[in-house]
């Protein structure tokens, strides 16, 4: 018998006669929040990421200011293209979650490949206010599983040395989030 068939047969035997289980979903699938932008900004800040909240019209100037003098990757345009020597990357995102201060990239237009947002030490992510959802269930519902997804909550971190939090081991050590309102 193949390993597959044997494992499946063992499972069938192991659970024979066991009752099935109903799944109660009484948890919140949305959350009332008057100020999603404010909550998201506060939670991102909790992770020691840098947050800017700006009217859409002022975002381009802000980006120019942040990237001045740096070799930046531009996912869809002509930017620096050597990942390992680039200083940073500017991207958009797919969804953002207010309750947890998370941004999710689905690596669609404007978001680059997974490596482009990983190898450089500095990541600037522009989030549109209408991309911010209240909580995790809303985000899961908005995302397409067929795409590779990267959920980012603050900069890379470790607590492996005597439980001291250190920002930045392998991922970008500085995460800057611009919320465009």
């Amino acid at each position: 018998m193949s390993a597959r068939d044997e494992i499946l047969a063992r499972i069938g035997k192991a659970v024979a006669g066991a009752e099935d289980v109903e799944i109660p979903r009484h948890y919140r699938t949305t959350q009332q929040a008057d100020d999603l932008v404010g909550l998201f900004a506060e939670r991102v800040d909790d992770y020691r990421a840098i947050v800017h909240v700006l009217p859409a019209a002022e975002v381009p100037a802000k980006i120019d200011e942040l990237v001045a003098g740096r070799r930046m990757i531009r996912p869809d345009g002509d930017g620096w293209d050597d990942l390992n020597t680039a200083d940073g990357v500017v991207t958009t995102c797919a969804v953002a979650i207010a309750e947890t201060g998370t941004i999710v990239l689905d690596h669609g237009p404007g978001q680059g490949t997974r490596a482009q947002t990983l190898v450089p030490d500095y990541h600037v992510c522009v989030v549109r206010a209408d991309q911010i959802v209240s909580c995790v269930p809303e985000a899961v519902a908005r995302l397409a599983p067929a795409r590779p997804l990267t959920w980012i909550s603050g900069p890379s971190a470790t607590s492996d040395i005597e439980l001291n939090r250190v920002e930045g081991v392998h991922g970008p050590r500085t995460l800057e989030v611009i919320i465009s309102t």
Binding site: E6, P24, R25, T29, P137
Partner: protein, 463 residues
Amino acid sequence: MSSTFLGMPGDFPKNAEKAVQNSQLRYNLRKATHTIRGKRASVVGELPDWQELRAAGKAIKDHTLRNLDRYLVQLEESVTRAGGTVHWARDAAEANRIVAGLVKATGETEVVKVKSMATQEIELNQALAAEGITAYETDLAELIVQLGDDFPSHILVPAIHRNRSEIREIFLDKMPKVPDNLTDDPPALAEAARLHLRERFLKSKVAISGANFMVAETGTLVVLESEGNGRMCLTLPRTLISVVGIEKLLPTWRDLEVFLQLLPRSSTGERMNPYTSMWTGAVEGQEFHLVLLDNGRTDVLADEVGRQALRCIRCSACLNVCPVYERAGGHAYGSVYPGPIGAILTPQLRGMGSELDASLPYASSLCGACYEACPVAIDIPEVLVDLRAKAPHSAAERAGMKVAGWILNDHERLARAQRAATKLRKLVPKRLPGPLSAWTDTRDVPEIPEESFRDWWERNERA
């Protein structure tokens, strides 16, 4: 270390180093478990629907386990449709053989790894080494453990038994390019690890990972992490091999909405861990292999009481609240699964043939803190009691009794010896009651040769 035993004669410092280290371990563990516990309590308290999430998490897992055969077949279809290849492994040897074969087929002799309990369980690194393949661990803690030629002691913070100066020594010793003036400042140590691994990430062609979840409906695999080494491994190499226990399955995409709340909050005590990667089949030109691992899990599934252990999402919340774990340390459990979950999982996965494994169900005072903390409501005390009834009684008793004779006595002596070491005065563990003391003691004491210890003690007693 030996300076804490000032005034002690002869070769005792050397002999007792292990015990002192254990006290350091206990101190570190206490700090770690209490810190994480506090963080967890505050972020769990933030969610008004925590108990509803917990009930859903439990039910989703139970439903999955009840229909595991059907969902595994569905997963296989989904992953295959998305360009991945699925392999099945009855046991550790078969899984190791499959992985070694896949690595060899790429022509590579080096692989990078993300921390994965499943691959530790099957001792993949050793198996690969026997085939001439070197596996490099890339989590900071696992790197410390691997470079220090050591074993992990906590699910979440595997190097918690090492302090910063020990880590510095290990890095100076084992990292070729590390500067001599490396300090023991945590950011400096993290920077050293970053530089050490960066090159390796960029040139590696093969990576091996586990997964926290697999979604049957979509074929998606999910890895939660903090450092970014997971993203490096999952993203940069051309070939990705994931070894995952068959119980890691979730039926639907939607189910992630429950577990992406339960796991980070229970585990690191964060609202969300820094990075979560999700991928479905072969993406961005990669080659993807999924190795589904049984290795005793179907035996656990056959046990009506014990099968709930398969709900475990390896958050380590039960370790952090366990009074026994806090004193005994992770190594004491003799397996990659320490703490309360290890006490119920290891004897079921490995059977209770050895005395160590038969004694594990006694590694608890049945206080129930683990059950309260568990995000999927595994009734660990219930399983422990059930396993005690099933343990080959005489063997388990012997495990306790045999050591009890000299260890119980010597334990008291050891404790007093430790009290004598002034720097460690506050760290002396309290004795645990009943059969537990025998259990705890077995794990700590055998490192110390009985004779020299006695010699020392008797001389000091008289002095």
